[in-house]
């Protein structure tokens, strides 16, 4: 639908924070309220849709119909998306004092004069913070500033004890990097590279807890070290943004510098979205979105915001898009304005006089570079080169522990594809059911390799393999041990199989007659009986081959 045609439909469209579009064929106005789509009809003619009681005729339009109309409008625009991410570091102590930090502690139990900003207290930098910052800078392919400094970012807020945040303003510790990632296959796949503008060190503020009679302050979190990562505005869709955030989570977990939990607040993302007509070089008005608590919220909030802005622009209401901060409402699935006017922030940055320069030597940086583990991107490329499918690659490289387990299984000699299948299939299902991580299952990579080899070599059948897998996962033990203990060795001797088949046939003359009379489906019955008699050990292939011969023989 072109902009011109849309405007020519003389329909009064109400614009609030609700996306509205006009259905091409029927001229109906579609809007969203409380997450349900409604369609208001212009004409009073009855339609094929169901009517809601006595209310004005409203039709619940399926999500995809609205989406198609919105898609048509957004197709004319290009979205420019940037993300600011705060990563809470998993150091033992805070950034500038020796208070420990434990998520979920009783309020105000992990505080001292320094993190409370009491008069006379002075900050002392935690050496681990520099180490983690360098690790991350290197992992994100940044240029490290061998000399950087801290600055004071000054503003007043109840959760900011000193009245300023110690941060890095004009000389951050790392700049000019990028991340490589692969989009999941269910979203079309594809490789992406997104730029990283900068990474800098700073401290967290306390927490405000709102109760009946106002708000109270918990300073346990004040002073916890953060790394702020600012991306280049390279993302173009909600899914690209969500994957970028997911990759940052993967990287910080691989590096062991943070547990990267969005739900816990150790990974926080604020997103900036603007759109412009395709072909225009000027950027549109930038809107910031906060309160995103999961990767899927990032995805949905951005898609919503793009639609909201596109609809406004396409209806000539571009001036309604103002530079502001909006909150994502998970329940209503939409962004809303933050009521209070923030005013222009003048942080009056100046160099933190209580902290010396941060000086890195090239040797220090090199030693950290050497100590980096194999990062997600490198792992994905290595797995891809080994011949695994993209789907396998993305699964196995997602969690560092799973990848390690997989690598160990391979180094015990397992077949590549079979190892991948077992881990992604039965083992992953077991972990999900029992809510265990791969480090908690009792099956060792070595035994998994043994299991795979036993099946591949014909010692046990695939079916038996799956059965003992469960016991191995739950109780551990060795494959060889279990095979011996339960007498599971596959029967591959045709003579022996033949004997069992003969027995089954002789015990079931009626079925034999029926089979020979034309009910060939009974082969399955016989096969089942043979399996039962052999305690599942008969080789299925051989079984059926010999069975068929015997059943069809003119006796």
């Amino acid at each position: 639908m072109t902009v011109g045609r849309l405007l020519s439909l003389k329909v009064s469209v109400f614009l609030s924070s609700v996306p509205v579009s006009v259905h091409k064929q029927t001229g109906r106005i579609l809007h969203v309220r409380n997450g349900v789509l409604y369609c208001t009809m212009k004409s009073s003619q009855s339609q094929t849709a169901t009517q809601e009681k006595q209310q004005p005729p409203k039709v619940k339009v399926p999500q995809h119909a609205l989406k198609k109309t919105v898609d048509k409008i957004t197709r004319d625009y290009e979205a420019i998306i940037g993300i600011e991410t705060h990563v809470q570091l998993s150091t033992l102590t805070k950034a500038f004092c020796s208070c420990p930090y434990n998520y979920g502690s009783q309020p105000n139990t992990s505080i001292c004069p320094i993190c409370m900003g009491l008069p006379g207290a002075l900050p002392v930098l935690n050496s681990k913070v520099i180490e983690f910052a360098v690790k991350l800078g290197l992992a994100l392919n940044c240029k490290l500033s061998l000399n950087s400094k801290f600055d004071r970012k000054q503003y007043f807020y109840p959760d900011l004890p000193k009245g300023y945040q110690i941060s890095q303003f004009d000389i951050p510790i790392a700049t000019g990097g990028y991340v490589d990632l692969d989009l999941p296959l269910e979203f079309g796949g594809g490789h992406r590279k997104f730029g990283i503008t900068r990474v800098h060190m700073e401290e967290d503020a306390g927490k405000l807890l709102h109760s009946g009679n106002g708000a109270q302050v918990d300073l346990n979190r004040a002073g916890v070290p953060l790394l702020e990562i600012v991306s280049e505005p390279d993302m173009r869709t909600g899914i690209e943004a969500a994957e970028y955030a997911a990759e940052l989570q993967r990287v910080v977990r691989y590096l062991g510098i943070s547990n990267g939990n969005m739900q816990e607040g150790s990974l926080r993302c604020d997103v900036n979205v603007s759109i412009r007509p395709i072909g225009q070089s000027e950027f549109g008005t930038k809107v910031e979105i906060k309160n995103l608590n999961s990767f899927s919220s990032i995805n949905r909030a951005i898609d919503f915001e793009i639609s909201r802005q596109a609809l406004l622009l396409s209806e000539g209401q571009g001036d309604q898009i103002v530079q502001e901060t909006r909150l994502w409402e998970e329940g209503a699935q939409k962004t809303i304005t933050m009521r209070k006017k923030e005013g222009l922030s003048d942080y009056r940055y100046f160099p933190e006089p209580d902290l010396p320069e941060v000086i890195l030597t090239q040797e220090y940086v090199d030693s950290i570079l050497k100590s980096l583990p194999e990062l997600p991107e490198m792992k994905r490329r290595r797995y891809e080169n080994m011949g695994l499918s993209m789907q396998d690659v993305l699964f196995l490289a997602n969690d560092m522990n799973v990848a390690e387990y997989f690598d160990e299984t391979l180094s015990s000699g397992a077949d590549l594809k079979l190892a991948a299948n077992w881990i992604m299939g039965d083992i992953a299902a077991y972990m999900k059911n029992e809510k265990l991580s791969i480090n908690e299952i009792k099956l060792t990579p070595k035994e998994l390799a043994e299991l795979i080899a036993s099946i591949k070599g014909g010692t046990i059948s695939g079916k038996i393999g799956k059965e003992i897998l469960f016991e191995l996962l739950a109780k551990g033990g060795t494959v060889k041990g279990l095979i011996e203990e339960k007498d599971l060795v596959q029967i591959v001797d045709p003579v022996e199989i033949g004997k069992i088949i003969d027995k089954v046939i002789s015990e079931n003359p009626k079925q034999l007659e029926q089979y020979r009379g034309g009910k060939t489906k009974l082969q399955g019955f016989f096969a089942g009986q043979v399996m039962k008699l052999s305690k599942g050990k008969a080789n299925p292939g051989l079984l059926n081959k010999i069975l068929l011969e015997k059943l069809n023989a003119k006796n």
């Binding site: 420990p100 105000n108 935690n126 050496s127 109840p158 700049t175 109270q216 100046f350």
Partner: protein
């Protein structure tokens, strides 16, 4: 208000006004930086003299209340302080590498070893700290607002 203004006087007379271009506020709004990182904007030669701050705005950002007569009284004094720094602009810095900081000591780092501060009760006791006589203009709360 008398107590407030005398405290303001005390602070202003001892006021070490650290100025870099990044903190010399004028009436124009200041946005978080977007410049390229190679240039440093406090050794600029573009401004031949430093602008004095918009005093009411400065007082507002520092949360110091000033009566109109106090604004009139302090404006020239602050202007004078800034002019002293303005004199430094006359120095030719073309052949000097910008320093990040003024100190010469190396880094002062601490190991990542936890130490619990005993006696946190004293820290959060309401009569220790928050009893400044007037509620914070920010929060409008009196007494302890630590959980």
């Amino acid at each position: 208000m008398a107590m407030g203004s005398s405290r303001a006087l005390l602070i202003l007379s001892n006021f070490k006004f650290k100025t870099t271009a990044s903190s010399s506020s004028s009436s124009k709004p200041f946005f978080p930086f977007k410049t390229n990182l190679g240039t440093r904007n406090f050794s600029t030669k573009i401004r031949s003299s430093l602008q004095p701050p918009d005093l009411p705005r400065l007082a507002e950002t520092a949360r110091i209340s000033l009566a109109p007569n106090e604004v009139e009284e302090f404006a020239p004094k602050i202007r004078q302080v800034i002019d002293w720094f303005g004199q430094l602009q006359a120095v030719d810095l073309d052949n000097v590498e910008p320093a990040l900081r003024a100190d010469t000591e190396g880094d002062n780092l601490r190991e990542d070893v936890p130490e619990t501060f005993e006696n946190t009760e004293a820290l959060i006791a309401s009569d220790t700290l928050w009893n400044l006589g007037e509620p914070s203009s920010n929060t409008g709360m009196e007494g302890s607002f630590l959980l």
